[in-house]
Protein backbone atom coordinates (compact mmCIF):
# COMPACT_ATOMS: atom_id res chain seq x y z
CA UNK A 1 0.00 0.00 0.00
CA UNK A 2 1.20 3.45 -0.84
CA UNK A 3 2.13 5.58 2.13
CA UNK A 4 -0.43 8.36 2.62
CA UNK A 5 1.20 11.78 2.81
CA UNK A 6 -0.46 14.48 4.87
CA UNK A 7 1.05 17.18 2.64
CA UNK A 8 1.32 16.46 -1.05
CA UNK A 9 2.57 19.30 -3.26
CA UNK A 10 3.33 18.56 -6.89
CA UNK A 11 4.89 20.60 -9.66
CA UNK A 12 4.53 23.96 -7.92
CA UNK A 13 5.47 26.91 -10.09
CA UNK A 14 5.23 30.51 -8.93
CA UNK A 15 5.83 33.61 -11.01
CA UNK A 16 5.96 37.14 -9.61
CA UNK A 17 5.74 39.15 -12.81
CA UNK A 18 8.96 38.36 -14.66
CA UNK A 19 10.43 36.53 -11.65
CA UNK A 20 10.23 32.74 -11.66
CA UNK A 21 10.45 32.00 -7.95
CA UNK A 22 9.39 28.34 -7.82
CA UNK A 23 10.30 26.15 -10.78
CA UNK A 24 8.40 22.95 -10.26
CA UNK A 25 8.73 21.88 -6.63
CA UNK A 26 7.46 18.53 -5.31
CA UNK A 27 7.17 18.12 -1.56
CA UNK A 28 5.60 15.22 0.33
CA UNK A 29 5.40 15.22 4.09
CA UNK A 30 4.32 12.28 6.23
CA UNK A 31 2.18 12.52 9.29
CA UNK A 32 4.21 13.33 12.44
CA UNK A 33 7.21 14.24 10.34
CA UNK A 34 9.33 17.34 10.99
CA UNK A 35 10.70 18.66 7.73
CA UNK A 36 13.30 21.38 7.77
CA UNK A 37 13.68 23.58 4.70
CA UNK A 38 17.01 25.37 4.29
CA UNK A 39 18.60 27.35 1.52
CA UNK A 40 19.99 30.77 0.65
CA UNK A 41 17.69 33.80 0.82
CA UNK A 42 15.65 34.17 -2.34
CA UNK A 43 15.68 30.44 -2.99
CA UNK A 44 11.88 30.25 -2.68
CA UNK A 45 11.56 28.57 0.74
CA UNK A 46 9.07 31.04 2.18
CA UNK A 47 7.10 31.20 -1.04
CA UNK A 48 6.78 27.41 -1.04
CA UNK A 49 5.49 27.49 2.52
CA UNK A 50 2.99 30.20 1.66
CA UNK A 51 1.77 28.22 -1.35
CA UNK A 52 0.86 25.34 0.96
CA UNK A 53 -1.89 27.34 2.73
CA UNK A 54 -2.54 29.45 -0.37
CA UNK A 55 -1.44 32.76 1.09
CA UNK A 56 0.29 32.80 -2.27
CA UNK A 57 -1.57 31.47 -5.27
CA UNK A 58 0.70 28.97 -7.08
CA UNK A 59 0.93 29.70 -10.81
CA UNK A 60 0.55 25.99 -11.46
CA UNK A 61 0.78 22.65 -9.67
CA UNK A 62 -1.31 20.92 -7.04
CA UNK A 63 -1.43 21.09 -3.26
CA UNK A 64 -3.32 18.54 -1.18
CA UNK A 65 -3.21 18.87 2.59
CA UNK A 66 -4.86 16.22 4.77
CA UNK A 67 -6.91 15.03 1.81
CA UNK A 68 -8.17 18.51 0.92
CA UNK A 69 -7.33 19.92 -2.50
CA UNK A 70 -6.19 23.40 -1.54
CA UNK A 71 -6.34 24.80 -5.07
CA UNK A 72 -9.84 23.56 -5.88
CA UNK A 73 -12.09 26.63 -6.19
CA UNK A 74 -14.83 24.62 -4.47
CA UNK A 75 -12.71 24.15 -1.36
CA UNK A 76 -13.72 26.31 1.60
CA UNK A 77 -10.29 27.85 1.96
CA UNK A 78 -11.00 29.44 5.33
CA UNK A 79 -12.08 26.14 6.78
CA UNK A 80 -9.06 24.40 5.30
CA UNK A 81 -6.64 27.00 6.67
CA UNK A 82 -7.90 26.44 10.16
CA UNK A 83 -6.25 23.00 9.90
CA UNK A 84 -2.91 24.44 8.80
CA UNK A 85 -1.21 26.56 11.44
CA UNK A 86 1.25 29.21 10.36
CA UNK A 87 3.87 31.08 12.37
CA UNK A 88 5.45 34.17 10.84
CA UNK A 89 8.87 35.74 11.13
CA UNK A 90 7.35 39.03 12.29
CA UNK A 91 4.83 37.35 14.67
CA UNK A 92 1.94 39.41 13.24
CA UNK A 93 0.08 39.49 16.53
CA UNK A 94 -2.95 41.77 16.53
CA UNK A 95 -1.71 44.81 18.48
CA UNK A 96 -5.19 45.96 19.51
CA UNK A 97 -6.02 42.72 21.32
CA UNK A 98 -4.67 40.94 24.39
CA UNK A 99 -2.78 37.67 24.05
CA UNK A 100 -6.02 35.89 24.90
CA UNK A 101 -7.92 37.92 22.31
CA UNK A 102 -5.36 36.99 19.67
CA UNK A 103 -5.88 33.30 20.36
CA UNK A 104 -9.66 33.32 20.72
CA UNK A 105 -10.47 35.32 17.56
CA UNK A 106 -10.33 32.44 15.07
CA UNK A 107 -11.72 29.99 17.63
CA UNK A 108 -14.84 32.09 17.85
CA UNK A 109 -15.14 33.32 14.28
CA UNK A 110 -13.97 30.29 12.31
CA UNK A 111 -14.32 27.31 14.62
CA UNK A 112 -17.61 28.73 15.90
CA UNK A 113 -16.87 28.24 19.60
CA UNK A 114 -18.72 30.18 22.25
CA UNK A 115 -16.78 32.85 24.07
CA UNK A 116 -16.45 30.66 27.18
CA UNK A 117 -15.30 27.62 25.20
CA UNK A 118 -12.85 29.72 23.23
CA UNK A 119 -11.46 31.23 26.43
CA UNK A 120 -10.86 27.81 27.94
CA UNK A 121 -9.17 26.46 24.81
CA UNK A 122 -7.08 29.61 24.43
CA UNK A 123 -5.88 29.50 28.01
CA UNK A 124 -4.92 25.87 27.51
CA UNK A 125 -2.94 26.81 24.40
CA UNK A 126 -1.21 29.68 26.21
CA UNK A 127 -0.33 27.28 28.99
CA UNK A 128 1.28 24.94 26.48
CA UNK A 129 3.60 27.73 25.35
CA UNK A 130 4.30 28.70 28.97
CA UNK A 131 2.43 32.00 28.95
CA UNK A 132 -0.69 31.26 30.99
CA UNK A 133 0.12 34.26 33.18
CA UNK A 134 0.36 36.65 30.20
CA UNK A 135 -3.14 36.11 28.85
CA UNK A 136 -4.25 39.67 29.54
CA UNK A 137 -1.13 41.40 28.22
CA UNK A 138 -1.17 43.17 24.89
CA UNK A 139 1.58 42.39 22.36
CA UNK A 140 3.29 45.68 23.17
CA UNK A 141 3.82 44.49 26.74
CA UNK A 142 5.48 41.22 25.70
CA UNK A 143 9.04 40.45 24.63
CA UNK A 144 9.68 39.22 21.11
CA UNK A 145 10.04 35.65 22.28
CA UNK A 146 6.81 35.84 24.22
CA UNK A 147 5.02 37.37 21.23
CA UNK A 148 6.14 34.53 19.01
CA UNK A 149 4.98 31.98 21.57
CA UNK A 150 1.55 33.67 21.64
CA UNK A 151 1.55 33.42 17.85
CA UNK A 152 2.24 29.69 18.15
CA UNK A 153 -0.57 29.40 20.69
CA UNK A 154 -2.88 31.22 18.25
CA UNK A 155 -2.21 28.44 15.74
CA UNK A 156 -2.22 25.36 17.95
CA UNK A 157 -5.44 26.39 19.67
CA UNK A 158 -7.18 25.54 16.40
CA UNK A 159 -5.74 21.99 16.62
CA UNK A 160 -4.14 22.06 13.21
CA UNK A 161 -3.04 18.91 11.40
CA UNK A 162 0.10 20.63 10.09
CA UNK A 163 2.15 23.56 11.33
CA UNK A 164 4.15 25.83 9.02
CA UNK A 165 6.98 27.90 10.53
CA UNK A 166 8.34 30.72 8.39
CA UNK A 167 11.67 31.74 9.94
CA UNK A 168 10.10 31.85 13.41
CA UNK A 169 13.25 32.97 15.23
CA UNK A 170 14.88 35.30 12.67
CA UNK A 171 13.45 38.47 14.16
CA UNK A 172 14.38 37.56 17.73
CA UNK A 173 17.30 38.65 19.90
CA UNK A 174 19.64 35.67 20.38
CA UNK A 175 18.78 35.21 24.05
CA UNK A 176 15.07 34.85 23.22
CA UNK A 177 15.48 32.20 20.51
CA UNK A 178 15.80 29.34 22.98
CA UNK A 179 12.34 29.78 24.49
CA UNK A 180 10.68 29.58 21.07
CA UNK A 181 12.68 26.53 20.00
CA UNK A 182 11.76 24.91 23.31
CA UNK A 183 8.07 25.33 22.49
CA UNK A 184 8.63 23.92 19.01
CA UNK A 185 10.43 20.95 20.48
CA UNK A 186 7.59 20.21 22.89
CA UNK A 187 5.13 20.53 20.01
CA UNK A 188 7.20 18.03 18.10
CA UNK A 189 6.96 15.59 21.00
CA UNK A 190 3.17 15.63 20.76
CA UNK A 191 3.55 14.30 17.23
CA UNK A 192 2.66 17.48 15.36
CA UNK A 193 3.53 17.46 11.66
CA UNK A 194 5.79 20.46 11.09
CA UNK A 195 7.41 22.18 8.13
CA UNK A 196 10.03 24.65 9.26
CA UNK A 197 11.89 27.26 7.23
CA UNK A 198 14.74 28.43 9.43
CA UNK A 199 18.45 29.03 9.80
CA UNK A 200 18.65 27.30 13.20
CA UNK A 201 20.93 24.51 12.02
CA UNK A 202 21.52 23.12 15.52
CA UNK A 203 17.79 22.63 15.93
CA UNK A 204 17.57 21.06 12.49
CA UNK A 205 20.35 18.64 13.32
CA UNK A 206 18.81 17.20 16.46
CA UNK A 207 15.06 17.63 15.89
CA UNK A 208 14.38 17.24 12.16
CA UNK A 209 13.45 13.97 10.48
CA UNK A 210 14.40 15.31 7.10
CA UNK A 211 16.23 18.32 5.74
CA UNK A 212 15.30 19.80 2.37
CA UNK A 213 17.82 22.04 0.64
CA UNK A 214 16.39 24.54 -1.84
CA UNK A 215 18.22 26.78 -4.24
CA UNK A 216 17.00 28.95 -7.09
CA UNK A 217 13.39 27.79 -6.93
CA UNK A 218 14.13 24.06 -6.85
CA UNK A 219 14.71 21.35 -4.29
CA UNK A 220 18.35 20.42 -4.83
CA UNK A 221 18.50 17.51 -2.42
CA UNK A 222 16.89 16.14 0.72
CA UNK A 223 17.56 13.50 3.32
CA UNK A 224 18.16 12.84 7.02
CA UNK A 225 19.97 15.72 8.78
CA UNK A 226 23.15 13.74 9.28
CA UNK A 227 23.41 12.94 5.59
CA UNK A 228 22.74 16.49 4.43
CA UNK A 229 25.01 18.16 6.94
CA UNK A 230 27.90 15.70 6.99
CA UNK A 231 27.83 14.38 3.48
CA UNK A 232 25.92 16.52 0.98
CA UNK A 233 25.72 15.12 -2.53
CA UNK A 234 25.63 18.44 -4.35
CA UNK A 235 28.24 21.14 -4.65
CA UNK A 236 25.69 23.90 -3.98
CA UNK A 237 24.51 22.21 -0.79
CA UNK A 238 28.07 21.81 0.37
CA UNK A 239 28.83 25.49 -0.32
CA UNK A 240 25.73 26.64 1.54
CA UNK A 241 26.37 24.46 4.57
CA UNK A 242 30.00 25.49 4.60
CA UNK A 243 28.94 29.14 4.66
CA UNK A 244 26.45 28.62 7.48
CA UNK A 245 28.91 26.69 9.62
CA UNK A 246 31.64 29.23 9.25
CA UNK A 247 29.53 31.59 11.34
Amino acid sequence: MVQKHIVEARGIHKHFGPLHVLKGVDLQVDERELVFVIGPSGSGKSTLLRCLNRLEEPSSGSVVVDGIDMLDPKTDINHARQRIGMVFQSFNLYPHMTALGNVTLALRKVAGKSRAEADTLARKALERVGLADRADHTPGQLSGGQQQRVAIARSIALEPRVMLFDEPTSALDPELVGSVLEVMRSLRETGMTMIVVSHEMGFARNAADRVVFMDDGLIVEQGPPAAIFENPAHERTRAFIGQIQRH
Binding site: N53, L55, N78, H79, A80, R81, Q82, I84, G85, M86, F88, S90, N92, L93, Y94, P95, H96, L105, A106, K109, V110, A111, A151, R154, S155, L158
Partner: protein, 226 residues
Amino acid sequence: MGGWDRFVETFFNAKVMAKYLPDILSGMVVTIELALLIVVTGLGAGLALALLRSLGIRPLNWLIIFIVDLFRSLPPLVIIVLMYFGLPYAGPSPSGFVSTWLSLALVLMAFSEEIFWAGITSIPRGQWEASRSTGLSYGQTLFNVILPQAFRLTIPPLTNRTIAITKGTALGTVVAVTEILGQASSAVSNSYNPSPLMMGAAAYIVLFFPVVVAARWIETKFAWKR
Protein backbone atom coordinates in the same frame (compact mmCIF):
# COMPACT_ATOMS: atom_id res chain seq x y z
CA MET B 1 -21.93 108.72 27.65
CA GLY B 2 -18.35 107.48 27.42
CA GLY B 3 -16.86 105.55 24.52
CA TRP B 4 -17.04 102.27 26.36
CA ASP B 5 -20.68 102.70 27.21
CA ARG B 6 -21.48 103.50 23.63
CA PHE B 7 -19.55 100.44 22.50
CA VAL B 8 -21.51 98.21 24.87
CA GLU B 9 -24.76 99.95 23.94
CA THR B 10 -24.05 99.21 20.27
CA PHE B 11 -22.59 95.73 20.28
CA PHE B 12 -24.14 94.24 23.40
CA ASN B 13 -27.49 95.99 23.51
CA ALA B 14 -29.50 94.20 26.18
CA LYS B 15 -32.89 95.03 24.71
CA VAL B 16 -31.99 93.86 21.23
CA MET B 17 -30.34 90.76 22.59
CA ALA B 18 -33.37 89.83 24.66
CA LYS B 19 -35.62 90.33 21.67
CA TYR B 20 -33.65 88.14 19.30
CA LEU B 21 -32.42 85.49 21.72
CA PRO B 22 -35.23 83.07 20.72
CA ASP B 23 -34.24 83.46 17.05
CA ILE B 24 -30.61 82.69 17.81
CA LEU B 25 -31.63 79.68 19.90
CA SER B 26 -33.78 78.29 17.11
CA GLY B 27 -30.83 78.90 14.78
CA MET B 28 -28.69 76.82 17.13
CA VAL B 29 -31.17 73.97 16.89
CA VAL B 30 -31.01 74.09 13.09
CA THR B 31 -27.19 74.22 13.17
CA ILE B 32 -27.06 71.20 15.48
CA GLU B 33 -29.50 69.22 13.33
CA LEU B 34 -27.58 70.06 10.21
CA ALA B 35 -24.23 69.24 11.81
CA LEU B 36 -25.39 65.87 13.12
CA LEU B 37 -26.90 64.92 9.76
CA ILE B 38 -23.68 65.87 7.98
CA VAL B 39 -21.44 63.95 10.37
CA VAL B 40 -23.53 60.77 10.35
CA THR B 41 -24.16 60.59 6.62
CA GLY B 42 -20.76 61.97 5.56
CA LEU B 43 -18.71 59.61 7.71
CA GLY B 44 -21.01 56.69 6.90
CA ALA B 45 -20.70 57.25 3.18
CA GLY B 46 -16.93 57.79 3.48
CA LEU B 47 -16.48 54.50 5.32
CA ALA B 48 -18.70 52.70 2.83
CA LEU B 49 -16.64 54.03 -0.08
CA ALA B 50 -13.37 53.02 1.62
CA LEU B 51 -14.70 49.49 2.16
CA LEU B 52 -15.84 49.29 -1.45
CA ARG B 53 -12.40 50.45 -2.51
CA SER B 54 -10.73 47.72 -0.45
CA LEU B 55 -12.39 45.11 -2.68
CA GLY B 56 -9.90 46.18 -5.34
CA ILE B 57 -12.23 46.32 -8.36
CA ARG B 58 -10.27 48.47 -10.79
CA PRO B 59 -12.91 50.53 -12.68
CA LEU B 60 -14.90 50.99 -9.48
CA ASN B 61 -11.80 52.28 -7.69
CA TRP B 62 -11.10 54.80 -10.44
CA LEU B 63 -14.64 56.08 -10.06
CA ILE B 64 -14.27 56.34 -6.28
CA ILE B 65 -10.96 58.17 -6.59
CA PHE B 66 -12.48 60.60 -9.08
CA ILE B 67 -15.47 61.35 -6.85
CA VAL B 68 -13.20 61.84 -3.84
CA ASP B 69 -10.87 64.14 -5.78
CA LEU B 70 -13.81 66.10 -7.15
CA PHE B 71 -15.28 66.89 -3.75
CA ARG B 72 -11.89 67.65 -2.27
CA SER B 73 -11.16 70.15 -5.07
CA LEU B 74 -14.43 72.06 -5.11
CA PRO B 75 -15.04 74.77 -2.51
CA PRO B 76 -18.03 73.71 -0.38
CA LEU B 77 -19.77 77.00 -1.09
CA VAL B 78 -19.54 76.33 -4.83
CA ILE B 79 -21.17 72.91 -4.35
CA ILE B 80 -23.94 74.42 -2.23
CA VAL B 81 -24.60 77.18 -4.77
CA LEU B 82 -24.54 74.71 -7.63
CA MET B 83 -27.04 72.47 -5.88
CA TYR B 84 -29.36 75.24 -4.74
CA PHE B 85 -29.27 77.56 -7.76
CA GLY B 86 -28.26 75.12 -10.48
CA LEU B 87 -30.13 71.88 -9.83
CA PRO B 88 -33.61 73.44 -10.15
CA TYR B 89 -32.89 74.02 -13.84
CA ALA B 90 -32.74 70.23 -14.19
CA GLY B 91 -35.89 69.52 -12.21
CA PRO B 92 -35.34 68.81 -8.52
CA SER B 93 -35.22 71.89 -6.31
CA PRO B 94 -33.68 70.93 -2.99
CA SER B 95 -34.30 73.34 -0.13
CA GLY B 96 -31.42 75.36 1.30
CA PHE B 97 -31.26 72.96 4.23
CA VAL B 98 -31.06 69.90 1.99
CA SER B 99 -28.55 71.57 -0.34
CA THR B 100 -26.26 72.45 2.54
CA TRP B 101 -26.62 69.06 4.15
CA LEU B 102 -25.95 67.08 0.97
CA SER B 103 -23.08 69.31 -0.16
CA LEU B 104 -21.20 69.17 3.12
CA ALA B 105 -21.95 65.47 3.55
CA LEU B 106 -20.40 64.84 0.13
CA VAL B 107 -17.33 66.87 1.11
CA LEU B 108 -16.99 65.01 4.40
CA MET B 109 -17.51 61.72 2.56
CA ALA B 110 -14.62 62.55 0.24
CA PHE B 111 -12.22 63.56 2.98
CA SER B 112 -13.14 60.72 5.31
CA GLU B 113 -12.91 58.11 2.55
CA GLU B 114 -9.37 59.27 1.93
CA ILE B 115 -8.51 59.06 5.63
CA PHE B 116 -10.21 55.68 6.17
CA TRP B 117 -8.49 54.30 3.10
CA ALA B 118 -5.09 55.53 4.23
CA GLY B 119 -5.77 53.90 7.60
CA ILE B 120 -6.71 50.57 6.04
CA THR B 121 -3.69 50.49 3.74
CA SER B 122 -1.32 51.46 6.53
CA ILE B 123 -1.98 48.18 8.36
CA PRO B 124 0.90 45.82 7.48
CA ARG B 125 0.24 42.88 5.17
CA GLY B 126 1.32 40.51 7.92
CA GLN B 127 -1.87 41.30 9.82
CA TRP B 128 -3.97 40.17 6.85
CA GLU B 129 -1.83 37.07 6.41
CA ALA B 130 -1.85 36.03 10.05
CA SER B 131 -5.60 36.42 10.21
CA ARG B 132 -6.31 34.65 6.91
CA SER B 133 -3.91 31.84 7.85
CA THR B 134 -6.09 31.03 10.87
CA GLY B 135 -9.05 30.70 8.55
CA LEU B 136 -10.78 34.07 8.98
CA SER B 137 -12.52 35.23 5.81
CA TYR B 138 -11.79 38.51 4.04
CA GLY B 139 -14.71 40.24 5.72
CA GLN B 140 -13.96 38.81 9.15
CA THR B 141 -10.34 39.94 8.84
CA LEU B 142 -11.42 43.41 7.75
CA PHE B 143 -13.86 43.90 10.61
CA ASN B 144 -12.03 42.13 13.44
CA VAL B 145 -8.39 42.80 12.70
CA ILE B 146 -7.86 45.60 10.19
CA LEU B 147 -10.56 48.19 10.90
CA PRO B 148 -10.07 48.33 14.69
CA GLN B 149 -6.41 49.15 14.12
CA ALA B 150 -7.13 51.51 11.24
CA PHE B 151 -9.70 53.48 13.25
CA ARG B 152 -7.13 54.19 15.92
CA LEU B 153 -4.83 55.77 13.38
CA THR B 154 -7.57 57.72 11.66
CA ILE B 155 -9.25 59.27 14.68
CA PRO B 156 -7.05 62.39 15.05
CA PRO B 157 -7.11 63.47 11.39
CA LEU B 158 -10.76 62.52 11.16
CA THR B 159 -11.90 64.63 14.12
CA ASN B 160 -10.08 67.70 12.85
CA ARG B 161 -11.52 67.36 9.38
CA THR B 162 -15.00 66.67 10.69
CA ILE B 163 -14.95 69.82 12.81
CA ALA B 164 -13.69 71.96 9.93
CA ILE B 165 -16.42 70.69 7.60
CA THR B 166 -19.17 70.84 10.19
CA LYS B 167 -18.36 74.51 10.81
CA GLY B 168 -19.35 74.96 7.17
CA THR B 169 -23.00 74.79 8.25
CA ALA B 170 -22.66 78.58 8.44
CA LEU B 171 -22.49 78.56 4.63
CA GLY B 172 -26.15 77.59 4.68
CA THR B 173 -26.96 81.23 5.29
CA VAL B 174 -26.11 81.92 1.64
CA VAL B 175 -28.99 79.66 0.56
CA ALA B 176 -31.42 80.96 3.18
CA VAL B 177 -31.04 78.26 5.81
CA THR B 178 -32.23 79.65 9.13
CA GLU B 179 -29.20 78.48 11.07
CA ILE B 180 -27.33 80.69 13.53
CA LEU B 181 -25.65 83.04 11.07
CA GLY B 182 -28.80 83.34 8.96
CA GLN B 183 -30.89 84.23 12.01
CA ALA B 184 -28.27 86.66 13.27
CA SER B 185 -27.90 88.40 9.91
CA SER B 186 -31.60 88.96 9.42
CA ALA B 187 -31.89 90.15 13.03
CA VAL B 188 -29.15 92.69 12.36
CA SER B 189 -30.92 94.09 9.32
CA ASN B 190 -34.24 94.20 11.19
CA SER B 191 -32.86 95.93 14.28
CA TYR B 192 -30.11 98.05 12.73
CA ASN B 193 -27.93 96.81 15.55
CA PRO B 194 -24.98 94.36 15.50
CA SER B 195 -25.79 92.76 18.86
CA PRO B 196 -27.51 89.71 17.31
CA LEU B 197 -24.33 89.06 15.37
CA MET B 198 -22.35 89.05 18.60
CA MET B 199 -24.87 86.59 20.03
CA GLY B 200 -24.51 84.46 16.95
CA ALA B 201 -20.75 84.49 17.31
CA ALA B 202 -21.12 83.48 20.95
CA ALA B 203 -23.47 80.69 19.93
CA TYR B 204 -20.84 79.23 17.59
CA ILE B 205 -18.24 79.40 20.32
CA VAL B 206 -20.61 77.66 22.74
CA LEU B 207 -21.22 74.90 20.20
CA PHE B 208 -17.79 74.38 18.70
CA PHE B 209 -15.24 75.43 21.32
CA PRO B 210 -15.85 72.35 23.50
CA VAL B 211 -15.58 70.17 20.41
CA VAL B 212 -12.23 71.72 19.47
CA VAL B 213 -10.90 71.26 22.99
CA ALA B 214 -12.15 67.66 23.01
CA ALA B 215 -10.40 67.11 19.67
CA ARG B 216 -7.15 68.35 21.13
CA TRP B 217 -7.56 65.91 23.99
CA ILE B 218 -8.33 63.05 21.61
CA GLU B 219 -5.28 63.93 19.56
CA THR B 220 -2.94 63.54 22.54
CA LYS B 221 -4.72 60.45 23.81
CA PHE B 222 -4.43 58.59 20.52
CA ALA B 223 -0.89 59.70 19.85
CA TRP B 224 0.68 57.29 22.35
CA LYS B 225 1.48 54.77 19.70
CA ARG B 226 4.01 56.88 17.86
